[in-house]
Symmetry: C2
Subunit: 549 residues, 2 copies
């Protein structure tokens, strides 16, 4: 049997687009005399459709899409993911389903058993878990058809009390097909491969795995669909961060090592290179899917905005990214010079709008109300907010989307101005710690100096008061980031952190900063997710609370 | 047996506070010779603790709190809610539990079976569902101890395939105790009573129900704990929107109708009065629990900010709410006059800061970059954002929290300026449609004119360009709100709406406006939730999508 794996960049709710891409792949597979073509989980709707699933109209459009696709399944079978209504009286209204299409119609439907409901996942919000286990048969093959998480109840802390493959093995399937929506983080391609390999080895049958690719707002799908033989060897791996398509012959699997080169990253830079590719895809898809082409950002002379510019230029093209330099009386000359050096080096469009006069205008109006109180955060924030107003004015006038340039360390401790530098349609670096920002800058400069060296080496500063340095307010980034990582990604509490050797006073201070700034993060733009625990939909914290605060 | 119901306003993660309130209630019950005192679901942590539950440290603090409370349970028994660790290898790490405390220690633990995971609820994110059913015995009584949702699998669309009370009835319990965390919406007190009555009638035993009271950021708990007899009659109902405590004698239940007056609302105004009380509590608790006392808001001369001021004054006291009038060249004289009339009438502090000069300053800077394009949204938004900067500057300088004054109709269709009038720490009216804003204003004025009549009767306008009216850009609010209600609260799609008789072009336009403005709502403050479907944590929509858009 010839199987095709179709790794596609879907667009949530864009049925016309999704169906058209699926049908094109079916045509291509037909031309290649493929017997069965496999698409991803919830392919027709895109993933995650979230509360659109609560609309009957949306579900009907999904099912119409499946019917449209089925009509093209003559002389070929297809597996495609879609929500489906639960016909039973009791339980949730929907199942997360895999449809087997054959002879122009729906032949079989299988439901997802294990519904991820942690981190960014909310599947139990919508779907009833499957309780009936039956393989499918097509082209004379017995297939264990599973959906993403169904293969993930492994390891030393199993989340579920059931294992769908254990239930299906009685029926002697000859292969596993898994349709997935497994989003990227910088560890995920390794974890994912390990889990899939474990399944192929445990059940001693080959595994065909089809994932999504492309960005859905903050969620980045890296693709990496694969074929694993019954010994757990990866024979084929589809490209990462781009659409891809592969045909394989099941009868000739163990002999046919893929001729493709699996995308490798330079040793030691694997994580940084992956993050870079993921961010570029994230920015690009955000604009494409919204129908926008042009970005704007504030270029401060610091490393965060320089890195954001470099990523945006790669994603959108240099002519489509406008940098705005907005010096104040507190800006150092090198900030302007360094910014100019960068935009001129890459030949990017830019504008300079000094904010001194507007800032003075605000101060004149505010001074009578400030009761002679000393210069403080209020005045600092006014500067950041003036820049926010200017950027949004240009954005509104010309249809730019403002890119947010805050990094994860700042977002974590609240070192940023709400309605100022925290503005933007999309946060590019909000899941990248400051220490990783430096690694990314080095990575971008690995062949030629795109980001001026001085931007990388000078001490970070917000430049909102004379001679300000980040280090005036924050611990050294190396320590800060390590504590933040342990607290945010690893969910270590204060006792565990002190046990690791961190200073108790610093731990207490940082954890408090993280927790009391939840209100700021609540109002920030969606953040491209590259870590296993990003701020946003995957980390849900109370705002009004008193814990470690 | 004498049972006490303790209806308490907890504070998430504030163990010291929560334990202290619980122990005080136990002391009071001891003095009243109570045999069993009942507290709410997850009382020790507050509800919802959200991802704090993923921290071992947090769970340990919960369990320590339970132990501390148990020490006070000598000569009295107590039922108290807390998370507990799942000792099994498989399944999620926690249960949502009810602890029976007796003789100074934990005597029994029961786990929640039905885990709500819809709208604002995320319980399956954290908890393993219970699968073992056993009543508890205390004071010689057999009790079906259940937790909130455990009683809610009723009606014509049951969400779950199991019913915990059906499982427990074999063991012949004499009463049901249900500890709950059931948040307010303007329908909830009726729905809740119906469901509890249905349970008491179906199982023919009395029901003791203890709910939370108080606001947890956007979630408002209205209390209304109750005792229902075995015929489904509500005998006692605790106060709404405030802490309360009641002792009842189980042997004398059917004879002892409560002497308390259940809080009634004027006929026909029930919904509006409830919303008002809920919003006042929401604002008050937000400030109290964050340790703030003073609010600031922009008073535009329109009804939304006038209503927000009235609610804030009721919640925080008139001296603690600063109104700022910020007229521009586009402001009408009546806007300033109406605002002044209101603040003077209620003797509230205010400031006037004209924005003309700052606005001109921005225009001078922006003009060279605007390429002679006509005045449009860009200039309008600059004005709203200048006001945002001024309000935040005063907020930063003096420690005010900025109250957002946007209503739900505006939030729905994106009629508001991000980083301008959409700013704030808390949105007071973001779940109140414009037509309901008028009802609330009339309700507030029911005894004396607090909000000047002219503010209520004049046509709504953003006053960001000459002679602007809301009706230039939006359909009539009566139609707009009805379509929004059907789409948002009732999840009706375009076909259903047209079938209801709404104009197809208007439906299409409004649904598109709602969907394409998801990016704005993503960045808005938490919204006090008063409806069954508020923007925020209970409504999760993709941003980059193409559905009805």
């Amino acid at each position: 049997m010839k199987i095709a794996l179709a790794q596609i960049n879907y667009h949530i709710g864009n049925f016309e687009n999704n169906v058209s891409k699926i049908i094109s792949a079916i045509q291509r597979a037909k031309a290649g005399r493929v017997n069965l073509i496999v698409f991803a989980e919830l392919a027709v709707s895109g993933y995650p459709p979230r509360d659109f699933l609560e609309f009957d109209d949306f579900i009907n459009q999904c099912l119409n899409a499946v019917d449209d696709i089925a009509k093209h399944c003559t002389g070929i079978s297809a597996i495609v993911g879609s929500p489906v209504k639960n016909p039973e009286f009791q339980g949730k209204d929907l199942y997360n389903a895999a449809f087997l299409l054959e002879d122009g119609k729906v032949k079989e439907i299988r439901h997802k058993t294990l519904l991820p409901n942690y981190d960014i996942f909310d599947e139990y919000r919508y779907f009833e878990p499957n309780k009936v286990f039956e393989i499918i048969e097509t082209g004379g093959k017995k297939i264990a058809l599973t959906i993403c998480e169904d293969l993930w109840n492994v390891g030393n802390n199993p989340l579920y009390t059931i294992n769908p493959m254990d239930e299906l093995m009685d029926q002697e399937p000859e292969m596993i097909i898994n349709i997935a929506a497994s989003p990227f983080n910088y560890n995920q391609h390794i974890t994912r491969a390990e889990i899939l390999i474990e399944n192929a080895r445990k059940y001693k049958i080959p595994l065909y795995y089809v994932n999504h690719v492309g960005a859905q707002t903050e969620l980045l799908f890296d693709g990496g669909s694969m074929v694993i033989d019954n010994k757990g060897q990866i024979l084929h791996e589809l490209n990462y961060f781009e659409e891809d398509y592969l045909e394989v012959d099941t009868e000739n699997l163990s002999n046919s090592k893929s001729e493709r080169q699996i995308k490798k990253y330079p040793e030691g830079k694997a994580k940084t290179g992956l993050i870079y590719d993921a961010l570029v895809m994230g920015v690009r898809n955000y604009f494409e899917k919204l129908g926008f082409t042009k970005a704007i950002l504030g270029l401060s002379g610091g490393i965060d905005s320089a890195l954001t510019l470099a990523i945006a230029v790669k994603a959108l093209g240099v002519r489509n990214v406008l940098s705005v330099l907005m010096p104040s009386q507190f800006s150092s000359q090198h900030s302007v010079d360094d910014s100019l050096e960068m935009v001129k080096r890459i030949d990017a469009p830019y504008k300079i709008i000094a904010i001194n006069e507007i800032y003075n205008g605000f101060n004149q109006k505010l001074h009578p109300h400030f009761e002679d109180l000393p210069f403080d955060l209020a005045e600092e924030n006014v500067q950041a907010r003036i820049r926010g107003v200017l950027l949004m004015a240009l954005s509104n006038k010309f249809g730019y989307i403002l890119l947010n340039t805050s990094n994860k360390s700042e977002a974590a401790v609240g070192y940023g101005t709400l309605y100022g530098d925290m503005n933007g349609g999309l946060s590019v670096l909000g899941d990248v710690y400051k220490t990783e920002v430096f690694e990314l800058a080095r990575y971008i400069n690995r062949e030629r100096e795109i980001i001026p060296e001085n931007i990388i080496t000078k001490p970070p500063s917000a430049e909102l008061r004379p001679d300000q340095k980040d280090s005036d307010s924050l611990p050294d980034y190396a320590i800060l980031d390590e504590i933040l990582y342990q607290y945010i990604e690893q969910r270590q509490g204060p006792r565990e952190l002190v046990k690791m050797g961190f200073d108790e006073a610093i731990v207490k201070r940082i954890l408090r900063m993280v927790n009391i700034n939840e209100y700021k993060r609540y109002q920030t733009p969606p953040i491209l997710r590259v870590s296993p625990k990003a701020f946003g939909m995957g980390r849900r914290m109370p705002i009004v609370a008193k814990y470690l605060a």
